[in-house]
């Protein structure tokens, strides 16, 4: 399951540039983002018939392209270009075209009170910390796990196969085994199969692949050994 932020996430330009694109979605630290806000100073503004292109600089990277589509029917109003040197707040969607990231803004507002900028900085740290923690806590599954060989009967056979905190029962069991493994190079697929006798190797591999892509585990000496990213 994916952890998706439904809200509008305050970001730095550097975070947006580092966001990974998977198909149509973007992720920052494995959290899916779509609508974002940035705050920065306009370095450049260019007006075209259908849109205004700004270059917005928040000091964390090079200025980012921010495009605002204008309503060609409307006289004045939306078509006013905010001058360079103005600090603005932008709310928009992240886009990537030919490997270049940009924002399509649905709202651009000059800052009237620069203390909002200070707040924005703090909100960025808070938002990303909370999003990251929510993602990590999805791995702390409350269901009980017996280390004397699962067999699957008590552990998840009686329980539902619905995702708990974003993980299915299979995934949770694999993750818990990996987390509790004290060996430096982590847990091997063979050892997982040995401990999870009721789970086929294919199922284990699927779980490992999912957990790895979600950032709960990572491979160590080779693709057969994994450790948990959640340090105890």
């Amino acid at each position: 399951q994916r952890i998706r932020s439904q809200n509008i996430v305050p970001c730095t330009v550097s975070q947006l540039l580092a966001a990974e694109q998977v198909d149509e979605t973007f992720r920052i630290h494995d959290v899916e983002i779509s609508q974002v806000t940035i705050m920065g100073i306009i370095r450049h503004a260019e007006k075209a018939p259908t849109n205004i292109l700004y270059k917005v600089d928040d000091m964390t990277a090079a200025p980012m392209d921010v495009r605002q589509w204008v309503d060609t029917d409307e006289a004045g109003g939306e078509n006013v270009v905010v001058p360079p040197g103005t600090y603005i707040k932008v709310a928009g969607h992240l886009r990537s075209f030919q490997n270049k990231k940009s924002l399509v803004a649905f709202k651009i507002m000059p800052l009237e009170n620069m203390n909002e900028f200070t707040t924005h900085i703090l909100e960025i740290v808070n938002a990303h910390m909370v999003l990251r923690k929510n993602l990590m806590s999805a791995s702390r599954v409350p269901q009980s796990f017996s280390s004397t060989g699962v067999g699957g009967m008590g552990g998840y056979g009686g329980g539902s196969s619905l995702p708990v905190n974003g993980l299915t029962a299979h995934q949770s069991q694999v993750l818990n085994l990996i987390k509790n493994c004290p060996v430096p190079e982590g847990m091997s697929l063979q050892e997982l199969k040995h401990q999870l006798q009721n789970m086929s190797m294919a199922t284990i591999k699927q779980a490992v692949e999912f957990l790895s892509s979600e950032g709960h585990i990572y491979s160590t000496v080779d693709d057969d050994h994994y450790k948990s990213t959640d340090a105890e």
Binding site: S14, D57, M59, T60, A62, N113, T118, L122, H128
Partner: protein, 116 residues
């Protein structure tokens, strides 16, 4: 040298100058004094510590209040200014002490506020 506006510029206070010698930075502070030549001025940060800002060309306007300076830290731990902007305070005064607290947070959590 390149254009410092195209690279990451960490937000710093006076205390961080020494560890950023030679690097592009962003410094916010209140104008304390301006040298008669107009080629240097002193800003005070949120902790009241002073930083000297140098210009390659003399100022061509009056500056006052809170300035955000983009530039490079010199070997003498001053800032060679490439550009600056005055923070508007027409509606509300800028809380520089709070900004300084925010700097501490972003320095403590670079993973959530990456610069570069």
């Amino acid at each position: 040298m390149g254009d410092v506006h195209e690279v990451p510029r960490p937000r710093i206070a006076t205390a961080h100058l020494a560890q950023n010698i030679g690097k592009p930075v962003c410094f916010v502070g209140r104008v304390v004094k301006i040298h008669p030549t107009g080629k240097l001025f002193v800003l005070s940060d949120g902790e009241g510590k002073h930083t000297t800002v140098e210009l390659s060309e003399p100022l061509d306007e009056e500056i006052s209040g809170v300035l955000e300076v983009v530039g490079r830290v010199t070997n003498q731990a001053t800032i060679m200014c490439m550009s600056y902007v005055q923070f508007r305070e027409d509606k509300s005064p800028f809380d520089l002490e709070l900004y300084n607290e925010a700097l501490k947070i972003i320095h403590e959590f670079p993973e959530y506020f990456p610069c570069g």
